[in-house]
Symmetry: D2
């Protein structure tokens, strides 16, 4: 069982020439692709159609190679595209392929990746304990399948369910004093808490419906959750290190305490065998970094290190665009490469104003 990964810059949302070359040259086989993570140059918001364009291009590329109609490609390969390449961020995708079988003997830990999904949710479950528990169950099961102890899981990328409720049910729930939470905020929040529960970052006793979007001391340091209206079940993508895997990739993670937490970034790089001597990785070190994945947002308390920020009161630029620009620049300045994946809205993802960071690198 080995994973190979390729960082591919793109010339636009529909540019799939990098992956096409890998496929045409036989470097990667379509049927071994697990997922494509990447940044596209839209606004990352509701009217960001660059993700649709990128997915359409990937589907058109892969459909004939997988012998599937384009509309079925995403049943086989997970696309996790995040819009918004603010500031110095460079549009790119990272492609992951899996091959081989598990080693019988333990060896040095190497990265594995796998996918799973929860059972379908009802609207009333979203943002509440049932979503948290079922997410935790599915995450734990996937970790077990991938032969990963909780401490070996470093990134759980999820697309959270938001089943549609009919108007009557919505009104009834409100009247009953338990308004539906089937929105993006609560779905992301419960997804993250589900990961936290599965991996022991919080205990079952910490959790209740009331803590969701309320007790921000509870969080996951490895989750990276989005949510999608209309989705019935949550899709899960997990990265971790197993001593029964081979290949040359390793993944690690840390929790940024705020958007300026450059020391956490350096500590994580050092853990991955990439100690920063001055302020930035050397070109040789940098060449070993395959992917940098962070989740964060503008500190909702309106300040950073005691200084007021203006991201939340700007009606010309969304705060998500401001904060991605800032955090990505900080990360890029340490790594030395503008191919950085930062996504935003980070309820229960690390502490307020901070967030999880995962880095995938080639082992030394």
């Amino acid at each position: 069982m080995r994973v190979d990964a390729f960082k591919l810059p793109t010339d636009g949302p529909a540019d799939v020439r990098g992956l096409q070359a890998l496929l045409d040259d036989g470097v990667v086989r379509a049927d071994r692709l697990v997922c494509v993570l990447g940044k596209t140059e839209g606004n990352g918001g509701r009217n960001d159609f660059t993700r649709d364009l990128a997915m359409r291009a990937l589907e058109d590329l892969l459909a004939p190679r997988l012998g599937l109609p384009p509309a079925r490609v995403q049943d086989r390969v997970v696309f996790s595209l995040s819009g918004g390449t603010e500031g110095l961020v460079s549009p790119h995708v990272v492609v992951f392929a899996r091959s081989g079988t598990w080693s019988k003997e333990p060896g040095p830990k190497r990265m594995v990746v796998g996918t799973a999904h929860t059972r379908p949710f009802t609207p009333a479950e979203i943002g509440r304990t049932p979503q948290i528990e079922e997410t935790a169950r599915a995450v734990a099961e996937l970790a077990s399948e991938l032969r990963l102890a909780p401490a070996d899981v470093h990134l759980v990328q999820m697309k959270g369910a938001i089943p549609k409720a009919d108007h009557e049910a919505t009104l009834a729930a409100r009247r009953a004093g338990a308004p539906l939470r089937n929105d993006m905020v609560h779905s992301r929040a419960a997804s993250a808490l589900g990961v936290a529960l599965a991996l022991g970052e919080v205990t079952r006793a910490d959790l209740s419906d009331d803590v969701v979007c309320d007790d921000w001391s509870l969080y996951s340091g490895v989750a990276s959750c989005s949510a999608k209206p209309g989705l019935q079940r949550t899709e899960i993508l997990m990265f971790g290190n197993s001593d029964r895997a081979s290949g040359d990739l390793v993944v690690g993670h840390t929790v940024l305490k705020d958007i300026l937490d450059v020391d956490a970034v350096r500590a994580l790089l050092a853990e991955l065998g990439l100690p920063v001597a001055g302020g930035q990785l050397t070109p040789e070190q940098r060449a070993r970094v395959v992917g940098v994945f962070a989740k964060s947002e503008a500190d909702p308390r309106g300040s950073i290190r005691g200084r007021r920020h203006t991201m939340l009161s700007d009606d010309d630029i969304d705060d998500t665009r401001h904060s991605r620009a800032a955090l990505a620049a900080v990360l890029a300045s340490v790594v030395g490469d503008p191919c950085i994946y930062v996504s935003t809205r980070a309820e229960h993802h690390g502490p307020l104003g901070g967030g999880p960071l995962a880095i995938i690198a080639r082992a030394p």
Copy 2:
């Protein structure tokens, strides 16, 4: 001759309470104020009225204390306010006051600040050799007044002249094959080259009308020039270190080779007695940093470290906003403080995609 400086966070463009307290408490005397530099939370563009609001508030504060009508305050105190607090940047001003006389004996170098202006320009001179030469003359004269050798000048902040031309003169110049350059781009460019000439960063032989906005290898590493339509003469504000000055401030500068040049930032800090041990100054070190002033812009070649950036093709967010967000985040991540002054449009200010950086700190 000593300079004192105060970094004052603001709650909004019209917030002058910080300076008011200093004045009321007798910490600073109004008649000793030299200049106020700061960032306000507008878009930094043509319709950024936050600078006007801030200046109006400063004028209303200082006018009675200086015994002047508000409209005359700027004849005495230079306001250099830059709009745009993108990403993590925190709105703030740095106030500079000057007092005392020159020491008779040399001592450790300490920061001085002074102001000057050029003679009035004609529209035809702007963006051409006459603007460069007269700027150089005024800069050299000011350096001499401040007892600064060229190597001791570290920041020359300028508001460049753009005298208005009548329509006929504009047409005549175009017909004569030498179209007027009385625009912001060329005024900034010639201002910067004037500084470069005065300080020996370029030689007179390097210069001609043709090199302006064409030969980007010619630049200043200490200039920070804006330009203002309607201004007849260029206003100059200079910071440098003199061995005849006292006080506890020092200023230094470096040239960033690109927006990710974190090693240059660290080298400059080290020069100022603030070596960065890990990735960031310690709280004690940080408390000694009074002001961080950078000038840069999105690399016009469309890439950073060989990676495409999208700042120049975004029609929703101006590239100046993207690049300020990115560079300020990089600088803040080293200093550990979001009070960073980055201004944009940087013709002949450092190499393409890079730019000058000056830091003012308390001496160890």
Copy 3:
């Protein structure tokens, strides 16, 4: 009792030269000014500082003429400045002055204007029946003072209270099942319903806490309400026609059923003695229009006349900017003048997607 009004284009938010000339020429006396309504060229959102700049300029102009410190000017003259001159809208203010006494005998109805305020509100009252009832009381009292029957009131411009609640009170209210509504949405909504109640547009029996922001069939056709965090009591400005007033101004209003309701606009103009022959007022007719004031917003149901609009899903431009651009263009196309005042967020102001329109004109 007569009202005079002056439409004054501005060159920027701080431009008060129009009013200054009126004062200097003795056309208007400062102590007779009642209010200044106008559009400034900001984004109309949280970080729109153009209103502050305009108010500061007006205060500086009027303070010496009123013998007041600038900070007290607004106790005497109401400033109602709305940010956002999208599309063809031209920045301008309309200044109103009042003089003379009431006629003893009835004559043709002419416009009057007056101001009032409610008692201070507690946070728990906002967005609920108490705010509605007290607003209705104050509106009714002001109408009576101005000798206006309900049918003669055509525009009630209000700045609604939003008293600050402490965190404990907020939590307690939420726990008690009656979460505080001291936000802009609910304050505006209850203000509008207060006007509607005072003027008989709704009955007391229609109203309850539950209908606020829920039953959109209840609305006022003459209210134009904003809300301001920190304000303790609601400020009221009323325009109507009285047969005991003199002068040459009249005001009328209508309710737009949607943003395309050009026939309502024409009917209102006809009522004011300005029938539109073709598609637009003639230059002579147009010269008689002093002010056009509308309140509306993007239809929250996402469509206009059965066609989908995209104003609510655009993360680059706020929907308020889109809808102001559209409605102002429609109004300007009938009037033939881009000095149009449209403000947005219109809870219980006319039907969903529509809104109130008031026009002030010189009588024929």
Copy 4:
């Protein structure tokens, strides 16, 4: 020879269900499609990828039905998609299909549509007389093919050539005193003048290299030109009325003298048999309007009807978005339907601040 047209609202840029239904139901045959014009909900600028997404979806729909690979579909069907549905504009496409043969006998004039292209251009020809003349030649030839006298041509939609020049040629041209004009501004300008020349709106004697982007009194009232970097030859789409055509469509045009020229709109509608009684077409009349196509931009002189506008100094929203919002609202208010196609940048398209308007309707 008859043309059928269908106005199809879309749910998003990739929504082709309307056309798919027409094809599946046999209402339209794929091989008879001539062109698709429409508005997509992007920003209309450089980073508007909604047009790409829409074209990709149309290609995927039509490729199997035309027996072509997707990349070849546009050789057969012209897509003219314009980004930007500001304000009330509703995303939609209008699909045109052609069938039958020319009538032998003259009858009432009915709409025809046809396509052509110029020869390939060299970079030096763009924006100068050669582009104008070759465009005029191709336009005249197409009119003749379509049996249209100049007065019967009402809309010429073009995608103008911008052949890429190498850096050396660019420098050489600049040195020779005739800098290349192979940019969007000059290509659009020369395209429009080419149409004007072909249709007798200007004479050959009026034209020279110097008048391009200089003498704004020269313009076309039927052109609607965009330009595309990399395109070698200009693509032309022409709509006009012929007495040898059948069907029930007619097209007409007018020239708006400014963005508020509602009387011109009404006159055009009347010409098409759709006189406006009040302020807006009746629902029955409106149902006969198939497409409304305008080209305009913010008046570059900064004012409308003597009133300052702020579209050109807004650094948060591009002036093209402002002006599309305004003009589309004016047009929609007369027609009563938010399916309006306004595109911007209008060099030599109507007078400054105005522009051409074409309407396609079913004959009475």
